[in-house]
Point group: C2
Chain length 200, copies 2
Amino acid sequence: MVETRTDTRRRQQIEDAASALFRERGYAATSVRDIAGRLNIQGASLYAHVASKEDVLWSIVQRSAARFREAADSIIQQSDLTSAARLRAMIRAHIEVVTSDLGSATVFLDEWRCLSDGRRAHVMEQRDAYEHGFRRLIEAGQATKEFAPVDPALTARAILDALNGIAGWYRPSGELKPDEIAHQYGQLFIHALTPQETQR
Amino acid sequence: MVETRTDTRRRQQIEDAASALFRERGYAATSVRDIAGRLNIQGASLYAHVASKEDVLWSIVQRSAARFREAADSIIQQSDLTSAARLRAMIRAHIEVVTSDLGSATVFLDEWRCLSDGRRAHVMEQRDAYEHGFRRLIEAGQATKEFAPVDPALTARAILDALNGIAGWYRPSGELKPDEIAHQYGQLFIHALTPQETQR
DNA sequence: CCTACCGATCGGTAGG
DNA sequence: CCTACCGATCGGTAGG
């Protein structure tokens, strides 16, 4: 009973250490001995808690995928909001997920390519579904003339790539806070999507 | 004499094969035997042409960095154009560089982290200088009231992250051509930067 | 969680 | 460009 709780905690410590290392050096360049070293145990001892190195990557990726999914789902269902308000909330939520756990977010965004074929295909589907949410949101706003008639798929990609890019340069110790980034990116992309007066 | 030309060609073949593999699996997960295999020679034979595996990565990264730099420099110096026209041209040029050689562009954008400390620092400086070009262009447009008073550094990053993201999903065999992407992205970001009528 | 160990593979060299 | 080979390190197992 207590054993389970301790094991869960240890497992989380392993995934946190691995996330940081995978972010710093990449999955392939990180050895199981590197991960174990961060916890001050031997490389072989890691296998008391995990089945394989890829198993650790898979756990991190799935946990991160779930965080993105949950954040987006709760917003998309709020049909009382305008499309602009929902897009703004999506941008804010995405940035919050990325910046609140940089390690696992980076692993989810970059290192999933290192997974075996079946798992990699599964992640691709999850990412497609998430991107679809952004695209449908843009299309909904276009249906009400709230958004300009841009290409919804391409615009969704541009927004998402810009948001994911944050994981590459954001520094928690810096002056630029997630709320400020969310505000600026929200303004930028909502403005980009707002029809010009002259078009009416 | 002829020897030199053959060697240059062989060297280019090695870098092309390596670019494709680094893009597919990442630098760390690619062995020198993998690269040699694509050229139907033995792993050890590669060392008749290159000094080390990192040497190949360095060459690819530097060649790609030069292509981005040259494309941007020629545009920035055209002071007869409006800021919007120059930004549009920068977006188009960047997308052209990315899509015309996906392998080396991806390696430049993602795999430079695998370089040794000194070289990695050098690439970071090059990337900063390039990003600076975008930022100054936005600031120039703001000075003439052509662009809205957004945060220039953050906006430059958003644009650049969106442009670099293209390397991750662009397919040469797809229906979406670089010119079309450049047009759409140009419209999107110029629109995002254009002051609203009501603000005047 | 440890020590001891496994076969496989790594980047790279020697000598032709 | 080849064969033969090097020491180091890899992910992972056995047995405690």
